[in-house]
Symmetry: C2
Subunit: 722 residues, 2 copies
């Protein structure tokens, strides 16, 4: 890619961004689109436009986003979202602090050097950008000292800001857990690996006896986990019929025009997809089906509670401290029995995973790691192919029929700029679902944990395949055999390949922030989908609401994407400092746009009180270490005698990570007792806490306490609170 | 070393053993020696000779040892000792089960082979023993299959018996912790890293407020850890004067003969060591000194309690379960504050280490590891020298004046047999104290933990220096450069060097069990020391008691010694199966002799409820893996095509270790709650529990509760127990 196509790509991205911004300003000012641009507020029952911002100034959202405090974010969107913003702002601070020193110092040092003329950087495409990079410095030049010091500056700034951020997030988490609001999950633990039921006891009695002996005062009652597969299926069926009935009712009501006041009763066919079979009156048919299914559901609920009990349970305590302490204590002498963990929010529990036994979980985990490793290493093959087809000329050779299109000059430049990156982005979009599925296969018992696990895998995928793969892939065909023979050559090779790919990654970052955040803010895709659905599909209020439901921020997939950008920017920060403003723009724009989206659009689907942070932190640190190692390699390539003096940097990062893991991490794994004890005095309404853990398919007004007795125990609730 | 000197060495060892046994039979039958041979029973106030064994049959001790049950050992000597016997008997079982298969199968296979004649094993000293070993098999012979299967047999037997043993020890520990006896340490935790005292509070108030908030019901009171250096010094001084006074009294009483009924009042000089200075009446002088020191002690006690409070405390709970749970829960959001651990027995607490801060502890730990690593690697130099001087000829060359001694034929043979091993044993005797000192420097807060840590270091020292060092050292001068160039050659080199050192290690094992256990059983050294002291030094009852105080079993140094033997025997088990009966004899005799000593002699100085076991287990597993790896190497040396099929063995061992660590280990780290909750109903006498943690130098009848208030808090004891 030459310099002109880089500029074209930048320009195009910017134009797209401007267009999307104009679209956003136009569309969001129309009250009919409020459900697309302010769904969060509507769900909360607030006015879409608040306070002084009654006038729809197209830029007022920027002011609102900037003036919003962390407290606002926590109130609207929870601690997890606030932590995501801590991540964005920390990275932004890192890049700005690095940029204000590196740009004014390193750029002049590079431009005035003349090393680039005497040697070609890899790929032989020496261009204007390379003049601004470290590649332009003569090997062994004393100018390299400036770059050397820059390495230290970037590293130290990063470590300092990471420390500050970790401390801050830890505080946020502590505050959230200290809150005197009654959160059901703070009064419960989940116990798995319950041993076989002893002779003469029911599962419920077994669990109750066990915990009552250990916590004679604070134990409230337990809920045995059941196999809900069947009952969930019937429940979904019932919900489906209810929706269809509502829809039929709406259609019927709609058909009662003034011309035909009695209306037309809607009909449907009973066969496959309503396309074949007997034609029946829909309202009657669905009413009948509902009655049938309710009976089926009730009997299945009874069977489930009575006969499908598993070796896991949720145990409730009347005290938050006891629950917090119980969740982190060893209960059984044999650790593969009665293993416990902190209950998550009820909606987060993955019930089918709770029954998986201790060592099976371990085994599954390693199997999944193995599969993921295979995925990571064999996905590299298609990506390498994409890299090889980077040039349009190759494509034309392969697909001669596109030649007329390519011959149009403007189109050719655009295509040349976007083709490889687009392929990459589409590629990456396929993966998160698979990784989430694999993570759930591990036997992870909570939704948020599974998302964290998937997110971590995605990070390794991105860094290994996109960053390292593309970097080395550019020279892969010439260098592959060299690596294979001597794996120690990986670092120097990576370092030597970096400068040649600078423009590729600059374009990638620019595309990501202009187009990505432009699409994000304008919500053009949800906008189109909503209006299509509203017009052609939705008949009832519930259907309409479903059509504009905003979903959550999805930081599980956002974070790896951001981390990839951060890795790229860090690794290039000293080599091509020009990338720093691009990175800063990415994170700055990201902060601004997502702040708006978090406050007005997305609804968090769960709250893990910032447990994502240690994951993010570790991966930032991993990126930093990758950067430091490649720099050691690159200084070696530049034949700088003092390159070994960079080796303390990765060691320092490791020690820093170790200290942080020791000091902060345990409080993210389990709630600290001083926090749980804070401001918590009275025993809350335990009955409602207990009820909140009953899955909807098992909770029914018709099922009374007597029936719940089977799996949901009820032991003397008199001792400790009256 | 040739075959005849091997036999001489064996014979000599056996003769020494028989002499020691006869000595034991003679000496132990004299009632005057009861304090040497039955001190444990005397301290417990029992009759030295119990039950049916009133007659002093010289072999009755064997019957007694064999017929004693594990329960007896636990009652007399505690769980730690019982666990040590589980270790001994497990290893014995491993060796016997291996031996009964390997000896009848492998020895005939070796003898009838003829490989040894066509090639010399290393060192070129092919002798009769080598005919019985794997070295006698022709390379690539199909006879190697027998040895191959033997490798699997030994490994599988070891894993199976280890599993059984771990389960059994876990049960022993659980039973000990379940015991309804009130053990003060089960009601207390130790908290370290208490943050700075907030304005307006005392340290005591700070601690009490903190724990009262978290455990409103179960918190009893706290005891602030103080800097007792000064007060301990004065206390020791006082105790010294008291002893001297008692001695002077005894001397005075002794001088009152019928001839001189008024006696002679003893005198002493007040200067250095009682040798110079003014001559004074001892009884008056010491009485005066005692009164002086008591006043000094009292004022120092007050100062200590008031002004020398540290950032650590012991916290007492009225419930065993709460204490067990508190010891394993995270208390503070920042983990380097308010860190807790299970209280050990009061006597085990290393008070000066409690004040060391979290990260300082970490730092100290790594520093100590580094120092130990240096020690291990540089001790190898003297040991290599010893190996080089193995032959007497070398010694004669260096020290020509010993020539006449060496020329005596019998003496020469004996010297040749023992010289290298004796040097080794003396060498090893120097180390444990240093390692214990280093382990305490780490900041380890309990005595038993420090001993475990020292024991672990000693194991690595033995295996690396004695086993690997001697094995490779034998050929070190020829092979050193080869290793240096390619470290991957270590395993094949080690494997190739093993057969050449078989006789050395056979002699070493024989020396260890015949002489070592002979000395142990006969207690010839303590016997002589006691009688010397009794005759010339001891004047008072207390002094006499001190003279025969037996000490404890000292498994901290025993285990690494045993482990070294086990490592040697395992590594040679298939190569030279003849070593197995020697190993079995070592552990069988050890079991027998130590059983006697545990029941009648030693008094345990602490009880850690079997926390030593996971250490022992891990090191047995490490030995097993070392064995498996050297076997892979040795089969490679023998050019056996199927050698790679041994690679699953070390992997299997690793997985086994991982599973055990997951399943059993946590219950050794912290008491399981189900165990702590067992059979524990009433609140015990908390006051006596509290008092048992007061160090003797701070506890005094004259100091009443008011004064303790400073560091030893007392908060409303009314709420939870009346």
């Amino acid at each position: 890619m030459d310099f002109s196509s880089f500029l074209t790509s930048l320009g195009t991205s910017f134009v797209i961004f401007v267009v999307l911004m104009i679209l956003f300003a136009l569309l969001s000012s129309r009250p009919g689109n409020n459900v697309v641009y302010y769904p969060n507020r509507i769900i909360k029952g607030l006015e879409p436009l608040q306070g002084d911002h009654k006038t729809r100034n197209p830029f007022s959202w920027i002011k609102e986003a900037i003036s919003s405090s962390e407290r606002d974010v926590i109130n609207v969107s929870g601690v997890d979202t606030a932590v995501y913003f801590v991540f964005l702002s920390t990275v932004l601070e890192i890049l700005v602090s690095s940029g204000v020193i590196l740009l004014p110092v390193l750029l002049p040092v590079s431009i005035t050097a003349s090393g680039g003329k005497t040697k070609t950087t890899s790929k032989g495409t020496f261009n204007e950008l390379d003049k601004l990079s470290m590649g332009n410095i003569t090997a062994r030049s004393s100018r390299l000292w400036a770059f050397f010091i820059a390495c230290y500056w970037v590293s130290l700034v990063t470590l300092f800001l990471l420390w500050k951020a970790y401390k801050h997030v830890s505080l946020l988490r502590a505050e959230a857990l200290k809150s005197p609001d009654v959160k059901p999950e703070q009064f419960a633990i989940v116990v798995r690996d319950i041993p076989a039921i002893p002779q003469g006891l029911t599962r419920k009695e077994q669990v109750d006896t066990y915990f009552k002996a250990i916590y004679p005062e604070a134990f409230y009652r337990s809920m045995i986990v059941t196999d809900n597969k069947e009952v969930n299926k019937i429940w979904d069926e019932l919900e489906g019929y209810k929706k269809k009935l509502a829809r039929a009712d709406a259609v019927y009501a709609g058909s009662k025009t003034t011309a035909k006041p009695e209306g037309t009763r809607p009909t449907n066919k009973t066969g496959f997809l309503g396309l074949i079979g007997k034609k029946v009156d829909s309202i009657e048919y669905y009413n009948e089906k509902i009655n049938e299914t309710v009976t089926k559901l009730e009997s299945e609920q009874k069977t489930t509670l009575r006969e499908k009990q598993q070796n896991a349970a949720v145990v409730f305590f009347t005290s938050r401290v006891v629950a917090a302490s119980a969740a982190q204590s060893l209960h059984a002498q044999m650790v593969d029995t009665w293993s416990v963990f902190d209950a998550p929010e009820p909606c987060q529990l993955i019930w089918p995973n709770l029954k998986i036994k201790y060592f099976q979980r371990e085994l599954r985990q390693y199997l999944v790691y193995f599969i993921v490793a295979l995925t990571i290493f064999f996905y590299i093959i298609p990506i390498t192919f994409v890299s090889a087809f980077t040039t349009l000329d190759n494509l034309v050779k392969l697909l001669p029929f596109i030649k007329p299109v390519v011959n149009i000059k403007v189109l050719r430049t655009v295509l040349e700029a976007y083709l490889p990156q687009l392929a990459l982005i589409i590629f990456l979009a396929l993966l998160p679902k698979l990784l989430l599925f694999l993570s759930k296969l591990e036997g992870i018992p909570t939704e948020s944990h599974a998302i964290r696990a998937a997110s971590g895998k995605y990070f390794y995928f991105s860094v290994l395949n996109v960053f390292i793969g593309v970097t080395i892939g550019g020279t892969l065909f010439t260098a592959f055999k060299k690596i294979e023979k001597n794996p120690n050559q990986l670092v120097p090779l990576l370092a030597a390949s970096l400068p040649g790919n600078a423009t590729f990654f600059l374009t990638y970052v620019a595309l990501k922030f202009f187009v990505g955040y432009g699409l994000e803010l304008s919500r053009i895709v949800p906008f189109i989908i909503y209006h299509l659905k509203r017009k052609y599909l939705c008949k009832t209020e519930a259907e309409l609401k479903e059509a504009w439901a905003p979903g959550d921020l999805g930081y599980g997939t956002r974070v790896p994407g951001d981390m990839l950008i951060l890795t790229i920017v860090l690794c290039y920060s000293v080599i091509t400092p020009l990338i720093i403003p691009f990175g800063a723009l990415y994170f700055g724009l990201g902060w601004l746009v997502l702040r708006n989206q978090a406050l007005k659009v997305y609804v968090p689907s769960y709250e893990s009180n910032g447990r994502m942070w240690p994951h993010i932190f570790n991966r930032i640190l991993a990126s930093l270490i990758l950067y430091q190692i490649t720099m050691v390699g690159y200084f070696g390539v530049q034949e700088f005698y003092y390159a070994p003096f960079l080796i303390p940097l990765p060691l320092l990062s490791l020690v820093f990570g170790f200290v942080c893991a020791k000091k902060f991490y345990p409080a993210f794994e389990h709630p600290a007792l001083e926090v749980a004890a804070h401001g918590h005095k009275e025993v809350p309404n335990m009955e409602s806490i207990f009820r909140s853990f009953i899955p909807p398919s098992l909770s029914s007004e018709k099922i009374d306490d007597d029936q719940f007795e089977d799996a949901l125990s009820q032991v003397s609730r008199s001792t400790s609170f009256v």
